[in-house]
Symmetry: C2
C-alpha cells in the first residue's frame, strides 16, 4: 500500500485570507492518480488555507484559561472542522470525478490525542476500506485531546501519516509538496543550493545538527524528522514536487523521478 500525502500548499492557495481551493492542481493530481492505475492507495491531505487560519485564530491546542475561553475554543473547534471538511469534500469530489473510489474518514470522528500526540487508534476500518478497493482519504483536522488542560488539539496530516505508515506497514510514502525535495541550503536565498537525492537515518545527526546553518527548505525540517523515523521502521519515503506536471503519475508507477528519497541504505 502506498500512502500519498497531498500538502496543503498544493491543494489550496496558502497565504490567502479566505480559504481558496487550487482546483486546477486538484483536478490534475486526481487525473494523474487515475492514470497511474495504482492499486492500494491511501491519501492524506493537509488543511492549507482552510484549517490553519481558524485554528490559529482560536488558538486550538493552547491551555484553557476559563469558561469563556472554553466557549470560544468550542466555537473554534466547530468552525475549523467545518472548514477542513469543506476542503475534504472538494478533494474527494475531484478524486471521484476522475474515477477514483475516494472515501473520506474524518479524523475527529475516531481519533483523539493525548497532549497533541496520537497514542493509539483503531485502524481496522481503514484496512477494510483498502481491502474493498476503496481509497481512504484522511486529513489534518481538529480532534478531542484527553489532556484536561487543553481538551482540543490540532492533528496534522503529517502526524496521521507517520502513525499510519508505521502501523499499516506502508510499502512507500510519497510526500507531495511545492518544492523539489531537500536541499543542502535554502534554495530561495542560495542560488547554488543543491538537491539532496537521498537522506538516510545514518545522516540524521549531522543533518539535524547542521539544520541551523545548512538550511532545510522552509518548514521541511519537522517533516524530514518524521520520515526518518519511518525509515528506521523500514518504510521508504520520497518527497516530490506536485507542481511539476506528470511527476506524481510517474512516482506512483514506480519510475525514477527527481526528488529526495528518505530511506535506509541496504
Amino acid at each position: 500500500m502506498i500512502i500519498l500525502k497531498l500538502g496543503g500548499s498544493i491543494i489550496t492557495c496558502k497565504g490567502e485570507v479566505q480559504p481558496t481551493l487550487n482546483q486546477e492542481n486538484l483536478d490534475r493530481i486526481s487525473q494523474e492518480i487515475r492514470n497511474s492505475q495504482v492499486k492500494e492507495l491511501l491519501i492524506i491531505h493537509g488543511a492549507g488555507s482552510y484549517g490553519h487560519p481558524p485554528a490559529h485564530h482560536y488558538q486550538i491546542g493552547s491551555p484553557l484559561k476559563d469558561e469563556k475561553d472554553l466557549e470560544q475554543k468550542r466555537e473554534g473547534f466547530c468552525v475549523t472542522h467545518q472548514l477542513v471538511q469543506e476542503l475534504n469534500l472538494a478533494v474527494c469530489r475531484a478524486l471521484i470525478t476522475a474515477g477514483i473510489p475516494a472515501a473520506p474518514l474524518s479524523p475527529s470522528s475516531f481519533i483523539h490525542t493525548h497532549n497533541k500526540r496520537i497514542t493509539d487508534f483503531k485502524t481496522d476500518l481503514i484496512t477494510e476500506y483498502l481491502d474493498l478497493g476503496l481509497v481512504p482519504v484522511l486529513y489534518g483536522d481538529v480532534v478531542l485531546d484527553r489532556d484536561l488542560k487543553i481538551r482540543m488539539a490540532v492533528l496534522s496530516g503529517d502526524q496521521i501519516l507517520q502513525y499510519l505508515a508505521g502501523k499499516l506497514k506502508a510499502e512507500r510514502v510519497i510526500l507531495g509538496t511545492d518544492v523539489d525535495g531537500i536541499y543542502n541550503r535554502n534554495p530561495k536565498t542560495h542560488p547554488n543550493a543543491q538537491l539532496i537525492p537521498l537522506v538516510t537515518p545514518e545522516d540524521e545527526l549531522n543533518f539535524l545538527e547542521g539544520a541551523h546553518t545548512v538550511d532545510v527548505t522552509g518548514g521541511m525540517g519537522g517533516k524530514v524528522k518524521e520520515l526518518l523515523r519511518l525509515a528506521e521502521k523500514e518504510v521508504e519515503s520520497q518527497i516530490i514536487n506536485l507542481n511539476t506536471e506528470g511527476l506524481l503519475e510517474r512516482a506512483l508507477m514506480g519510475d525514477k523521478v527527481p526528488g529526495t528519497w528518505i530511506k535506509k541504505t541496504k
Copy 2:
C-alpha cells in the same frame, strides 16, 4: 441528554430529483434549538433527497453479483457518502451560524454493520464531545458491512438513533417529522383520523396487528416499532411536526406540545 432526530423530509425537499436543501426549515430549526438553551443535546439527521436516490440507484446493500457489480457499488458508496456529507455540512453550518457548537461525527468513519444492523460501536468519543459541551451531529450514511455477500450497507439515522438512545440512556428522544404524530388511520385519506397522544409498549400487539387496517402515517410503522423498543428500555420518545413553527423550541424546553408520546405508563 436529549436526542433530536431531524427527519430527511424536514431538512431536504424530498421527492426532488436533485438533492435540494430546505434552508428555511434548517435556519428556523437551528434558531429554535438555540432559543431553547437546551443542555446536552445530540442530533441525528436523515439523508432525504441527498442520500436515498443514489443509494437506491446503486442498490447499496443488495447482494454483490460479480466484480463489475462490486466496482459499481464502490462508486455508489463514494457518491452516496459524498452527497450525505454535503447535506451534513449544510446542517452543521446552519447550526453553527445560530451559535450551536455542532460537531459532526461521520458514521462511515467509525461504525460498521453486520448484515445491515449495528452490532456494536464505540461511543466513548461521542460521550467526550457531550462532556465538553459540544453537540455531536450524526446522520444516515453508507457504511462497510462485515457480511461478505454485501460488504456495504445503508445505515439509517433511525437505526443510529435507536442504538445510541439505548446505549447512552437518553433522557428523551424527539423525532422531528413532517406529520403531527401517529394517527388511528391515515390522515391523508381519512379526514376524521384522530391523533393518538400516547402509545405504550402494552399497546404494541394491537397496534401492530392492526397496522394493515388502522393505517399509521406513511413510513411511520418501522419508526414506531423502534421507539417502542426504546420505551421498553425506559427511554421516552415524542413525535412532533417540525413544520409547525415554535413546536421544537417548546418541546426542547419540556413544554407540553401536540404530538405522540411513546413511553411506558407508570
